[in-house]
Symmetry: C2
Subunit: 409 residues, 2 copies
């Protein structure tokens, strides 16, 4: 007998018919002799509707009240699934976030602190399926707290860890993790296994299958995850600490494309020690993370140019911060370019094989794709390119690394 | 400085614009120096939508899960109103039912047991407007419990009583309590004052302005109520223990029409001691209340007929109960008539003036309206008539008792 957490996303909870189908899947796991906890999202579209109501009510709304409003969507689906499970002969009951999930940190973006596992443990041992609304808990001040968008994945992993579950299955509207976005590369291939570290890099750079926080938590808790289709009976992708010894998998897990960044250039910047810190510190103080940094000599005149990227959503805020600090930093002009994209190769093989990075640069150079910036980590190499070349870059690399369906590595 | 509870119904919470208008009304009371608690309903239509989802999920749904689902509607409006109040410069926060309203009894139809008044008291004294979702609390087993449809009125009165409020104002889509249903009698007049007892009789027989339970609770707690329009600035109706000494009001407060009953006739019933009890006991055991009872000799043959009314919704259940007990009770045939209606005069003057009942019967007799049954209490006289004569009866009595607008009593 295993103890498992099953998490269902908004698309699988969108309407009574789909909730019935979810109930059928839960029943199969129960009949296989498992103890089952189910974590549910709100019906697809419902959270957006509730967020919109908050926005219309108040431009800068109180996050505590926001949490009260948006948490209601999962409360509804948890109750509906519990009663549906009962109609097909299972013992089931819902537990609210405020009854068992203590959260800490900012309202609207809280973190899971602890799970009241005794209550759930008792229910599971009595043969009850526990249904829990995702994305929410109770804050230190005893109020409803939500975990930030996509937080249902994190709820599921936190509950699985707290209840010492054997695994956590994330049912979603895709059937697994792919080598890249299939909308860009139709030959993208579903991965049988991927490591937590690779998944974090893929999620961080744009392959949004699971909330990043949930993957990090599962990694720390040594909790195996599976990503599965809520609609089809096909094998999904396992997310594990180490690839299985018998796994014949490419050194590269996948290619990620990310349109979420914008480039800032500060021209004719005074070339002195601590110059990069002088730029990054005021941005960090404003909560803006800087990603790819390139420092290049300005052609012609003295001084040099500093290029770096920030999230597109933070671009105007970053510009304001930098313009205010122009004198202290000492630069001539601030230029921006939000028509850029980042392409990355991700794989545990990178750390042991420098030829992989070389293959990436050669592949892009062959097709005259200009690299605006480059960064590399243990398991990822990224290149910033013009946005209109991003998809071409992804396709070229996907093919060069032998990831296309029907090809060998 | 007064402490007041303001309760807003679903129509006044239906959408952000209306919630803003509610916030404006709340602000006026705060600026007048009052401590204010606000109890809100779900947006109009939302509770019906949630109930429908439960029905689709499970024909006989678990009431505990039903409560989890349907309670979410008021949670949303409470959060939205709190944030809207903040945008217009008030201190405001929402409190959930599970944070402060202990309920007892059956899930789906619970009763308010106690209000955690210390928490609210503290908030009010700190100048905070407390916004509370109506219709819900927390059950003895620590789960969400709802109070039954219309329960927001009861929440408001219970909270007002628990917090020793000076009064409870019920804002709704009508602007007060009328002498009768204005859809039947366009000349119906708004009452300035009505007693709790009269209001209970009017509500009980069909003038559905306030949930009956809330009126009974306010009466026991000596808490003055007001019914007011949420949309227009016009005086409403005060509901009080005793009419003001200076009130020049008719002895009759109003005329009620009720289509909610059906008549059952048991023919040739054995005429013996305990016969009525033999009929009523099995019905009571099934939770079916019997209202008007008439026992008349059967024309011709021996024995007699017993006529009585039950709620239309319980008619088929009542028939099943009686058919099962036919031998014990001893009757010939069971006849039913659901084309009946009950017209009632209601007023504190009835107890001291028998001429009022006489005027009612004379008025109906003059127009040859046949009385199928009659009952009388201290402040109410009711007559059962054919359904197609009900509206005529209401109009005749409204006029005969001087209640038409522009007439004198």
């Amino acid at each position: 007998m295993s103890r498992i957490v099953m998490k269902f996303g908004g698309t699988s909870m969108a309407g009574i018919e789909r909730i019935r189908s979810v109930a059928g899947r839960v029943k199969r796991e129960v009949e296989a002799g498992n103890e089952v906890l189910v974590v549910v999202s709100a019906m697809a579209g419902e959270t957006d509707r509730l967020v919109q109501l908050c926005r219309e009510s108040a431009v800068t709304h109180d996050n505590q009240e926001y949490d009260v409003v948006v948490a209601s969507g999962e409360q509804v689906t948890a109750g509906l699934l519990a009663m549906t499970l009962q109609t097909i002969g299972l013992n089931a009951r819902s537990f609210m976030g405020w009854q068992l999930l203590r959260a800490t940190g900012l309202h609207g973006n809280a973190r899971v602190e602890a799970v009241e596992s005794a209550t759930l443990d008792e229910a599971l041992k009595a043969g009850t399926v526990a249904v829990i609304p995702g994305f929410q808990g109770v804050s230190e001040d005893g109020r409803v707290a939500t975990l930030g968008r996509g937080g249902s994945d994190t709820s599921a992993v936190a509950i699985a860890a707290g209840l010492k579950a054997d695994r956590c299955d994330i049912y979603t509207d895709v059937d697994g993790v792919y080598t890249t976005d299939p909308r860009i590369v139709p030959q993208a291939r579903k991965l049988t296994q991927i490591t937590f570290a690779e998944m974090l890099e893929l999620a961080g750079v744009g392959a949004k299958v699971l909330q990043t926080r949930s993957v990090g938590l599962a990694m720390r808790e040594h909790l195996p995850l599976r990503v599965l289709s809520a609609f089809e009976d096909v094998p999904g992708t396992e997310i594990v600490a180490e690839l299985g010894a018998d796994m014949e998998r490419n050194a590269i897990a996948g290619i990620a494309a990310d349109r979420g960044e914008a480039r800032i250039t500060l021209t004719a910047i005074a070339d002195r020690p601590g110059m990069v810190a002088a730029v990054i510190s005021p941005l960090a103080a404003a909560g803006i993370a800087v990603d790819m940094i390139v420092h290049a000599a300005t052609e012609g005149a003295g001084g040099s140019d500093l290029h770096f990227t920030v999230g597109r959503a933070s671009l105007s805020q970053a510009m304001a911060v930098l313009e205010k600090a122009q004198v202290e930093i000492g630069f001539d002009r601030l230029l921006t370019n939000d028509h850029v994209g980042k392409v990355s190769i991700v794989g545990v093989g990178i750390r042991s094989n420098p030829a992989l990075a070389a293959l990436m640069f050669e592949t892009l150079a062959e097709r005259k794709i200009n690299l605006l910036a480059v960064t590399a980590s243990e398991i990822k190499v990224s290149a910033l390119v013009a946005e209109d070349q991003l998809e071409l870059a992804v396709r070229l690399l996907h093919s060069a690394f032998g990831l296309d369906q029907g090809t060998d590595a």
